[in-house]
């Protein structure tokens, strides 16, 4: 499923796009969590085709994605990054989006579209 298709379906708006080409990239996996320790513990494979879905709009969600080599984050519940965190995101070369859907709603839509749960090898 291309990022473009997914984002349209969940009504996501762009917070920052580092690389427009990534919108045509196929993503297969999603990890949904507000606790970054869980994301760090449970995402071990296919990180380049994994999307982080979170309501934690701060520097630590960016750092977590950076450590895991995840290039795309979708913030749920209409969360926005502060200007400072957005500057950090630009340095890290992420593609960031926000949707007004809740974590439950967004997960449901993505699951129906065929996205799979990110996890271990």
């Amino acid at each position: 499923m291309s990022a473009r298709e997914l984002l349209k379906k969940i009504g996501a708006r762009t917070l920052y796009t580092f690389n427009e080409e990534l919108l045509d990239k196929e993503y297969q996996f999603v990890f949904a969590a507000d606790l970054m320790s869980d994301a760090l513990a449970m995402i071990n494979a296919n990180t380049d085709s994994t999307i982080l879905l979170t309501g934690l709009a701060n520097a630590q969600s960016l750092r977590t994605a950076e450590m895991l080599d995840i290039s795309m984050i979708i913030y749920v519940r209409g969360k926005q990054l502060s200007e400072t965190d957005l500057e950090l995101a630009k340095e890290m070369e992420f593609n960031l989006f926000s949707t007004n859907l809740t974590m439950f709603e967004c997960s449901g839509v993505l699951y129906q579209m065929g996205m799979k749960a990110a996890g271990n090898d």
Binding site: D34, L35, M36, S37, D38, L40, A41, N44, T47, T54, L56, N58, A59, Q60, S61, R63, T64, E66, M67, L68, D69
Partner: protein, 137 residues
């Protein structure tokens, strides 16, 4: 051979993770393969966050030897881990509300660090905690 020493301040949530980011960049430049790089980065980040959340502050030393041994040493100045066995149990957490607001405190830190490390050793007293992690490139 590379040796770098970084200082980590107590409860410095704004800069938490910066050291791990620098260390990951160094390892990336050394062309450490993706899966191993992620393991080292995750362990380093979790340990750095632990230092910010739980300790009075300390230092992180990165040492990469000629024969490719990556050695990360985390040394803080206290107050120590009261119950080390409990801290190594997934789900056990003593994190503050502030730490939870930052997305941590799931009780997965030390268990996760141990899981991704090839060598793991932790020693703790009221004087401080030392976490010794190693990987062979």
């Amino acid at each position: 051979m590379i040796k770098e020493i970084y200082k980590v301040e107590r409860e410095d949530f704004i800069n938490a993770g910066k050291v791990s980011s620098k260390i990951k960049t160094i390892l990336k430049e050394l062309q450490v393969p993706g899966a191993l790089l992620r393991k080292i980065a995750v362990a380093c980040y979790e340990a750095e966050i632990n230092m910010v959340i739980h300790s009075y502050g300390g230092i992180i030393t990165l040492h990469i030897s000629e024969d490719g041994l990556v050695h990360l040493l985390f040394e803080d100045t206290g107050p120590g881990i009261k119950d080390l066995n409990a801290a190594l149990t997934p789900g056990f957490s003593t994190a503050s509300d502030k730490a939870r607001e930052m997305g941590f405190g799931a009780g997965m830190g030390l268990p996760n660090i141990r899981r991704v490390s090839e060598f793991f050793d932790v020693k703790s007293s009221s004087e401080g905690t030392t976490l010794d992690l190693r990987w062979q490139l």
